[in-house]
């Protein structure tokens, strides 16, 4: 009797595993570079296009991508830094051509799925820049963007003065979801940033994640709360997609 139970359990597990498609590597040839894209295929009609710019080292993001794929959200993670052989420093962002990002967006839209963009920290500039460029021509629209703890100051803000943001801020009409940690000074700039992002018509929603610092899922010294939120990041992204209009996820 016990053996039968174990066999049934294994069979159920096998059925479950067989529904999850493994990560595949796709290459997108653009005019500027050959970009390697980690694709986490899924059957649903939503595709999340993330720009981690990490030369393939993002462990937490990969786990999250796998988890989202299991829930029907396809995830693409193009390695922009690797494609242009750039170091992982903030100044590299300026060397990533907008045309390459829009070429990847075009490729993603060819799947027929609704495409959402996602990035974190300073990388959020890339997707704002690309979204604004995408909207200048008559393309199928991108559905929205999730900006996780965006770092979009042009320079260090002077105490007592309104901050200056990078040029890409306030240029797109894309619906935007902002996520920020509760334990970072940047949370106090969330209203100001939302206001700036709305300037070209974007519908902006912002949420603070309590008890976590910025870059919480990239930290070596993560605390208990940060570990928990990192393990639940797929849920956090699904909630963000819900706010952006995906009611069926």
């Amino acid at each position: 009797m016990m053996n039968l139970k174990i066999v049934l359990l294994y069979m159920a597990l096998l059925l479950l595993v067989s529904n999850v498609q493994a990560k595949v590597i796709k290459h997108i040839e653009t005019a500027e570079a050959d970009i390697e894209v980690r694709v986490f295929p899924a059957d649903g009609d939503v595709l999340l296009l993330g720009f981690p710019c990490d030369e393939g080292k993002s462990i937490a993001e990969e786990k999250t991508a796998q988890s989202l794929a299991e829930d029907g959200v396809e995830v693409w993670m193009p390695d922009m830094l690797g494609g242009f052989m750039l170091p992982k420093v903030r100044s590299s962002l300026a060397d990533i051509p907008t045309e390459t990002i829009t070429a990847i967006i075009a490729e993603a839209l060819k799947t027929g799925k609704k495409v959402y963009l996602i990035a974190s920290g300073p990388d959020t500039e890339l997707i704002l820049r690309a979204a604004s460029e995408w909207e200048t021509e008559d393309h199928d629209p991108v559905a929205g963007a999730i900006l996780m703890f965006p770092r979009l100051f042009k320079d260090t803000p002077v105490p007592g003065q309104a901050p200056e943001y990078v040029d890409a801020v306030g240029k797109t009409r894309l619906p935007i979801m902002l996520l920020e940690g509760g334990r970072t000074p940047n949370r106090w700039g969330l209203n100001t940033l939302s206001h700036e992002l709305q300037k070209n018509g974007s519908d902006v929603t912002s949420k603070i994640i309590p008890k976590v610092r910025g870059y919480f899922f990239k930290r070596q010294d993560a605390n208990r709360s940060e570990d928990v939120v990192t393990s639940q990041m797929a849920g956090l992204i699904k909630v963000s997609l819900f706010y952006l209009g995906e009611k069926e996820i």
């Binding site: 803000p157 002077v158 105490p159 007592g160 000074p185 106090w188 700039g189």
Partner: protein
């Protein structure tokens, strides 16, 4: 051999001097008459502090948090600063940015600040003072006007900073 040693000593002296200069340069003078926004908050003992009650003194208003590395690092130098300021009418109001007492107290017990820690759990003053990064500092003159701002961690007990603040009190 001696030549090399002297060269190193000279090099370190130059580096030391340039660091001091950088620290002083970090103080950004505020042009015009810019009055400090209102600031009325409770300290960790529940006592209310109002910035306007410190008129006639030089006040360092600092916005900080325990999760901010540079803030934690520079606080011991603020204790030394209090000693070095001596009889100069001077006050530090260090406003914690949105944390709870439970989050702040362990750090305070460790550093034992010889100045006032104010709590702003709602973050109202942070918006009014337009603070977007930590630590953000405002040096208020005896007339209640903002004289300097400074972003980032510094050694507050450096002779150059002390001299500047003492000069402000005269």
């Amino acid at each position: 051999m001696y030549k090399q040693v002297y060269l190193f000593i000279l090099l370190f002296s130059i580096i030391g001097l340039s660091q001091g200069t950088v620290q002083a340069a970090n103080l950004k003078p505020v042009t015009g008459d810019v009055a400090a926004p209102a600031l009325t908050l409770k300290d960790l003992h529940g006592e209310i502090h109002d910035l306007k009650d410190y008129k006639g003194q030089v006040v360092l208003v600092q916005f900080w948090a325990t999760y901010c590395g540079p803030c934690r690092k520079e606080m011991p130098s603020m204790n030394k600063m209090m000693t070095k300021m001596g009889d100069t009418p001077f006050k530090i109001l260090a406003v914690d940015m949105g944390e709870s007492e439970a989050e702040v107290k362990p750090f305070v017990d460790e550093v034992k600040p010889e100045f006032t820690i104010l709590m702003d759990e709602e973050g109202k003053s942070i918006e009014e003072w337009r603070v977007f990064a930590a630590p953000s500092n405002f040096i208020i003159g005896p007339d209640g006007k903002i004289k300097y701002t400074l972003f980032g961690g510094v050694e507050w007990d450096s002779d150059e900073l002390i001299e500047k603040l003492k000069a402000l009190a005269k």
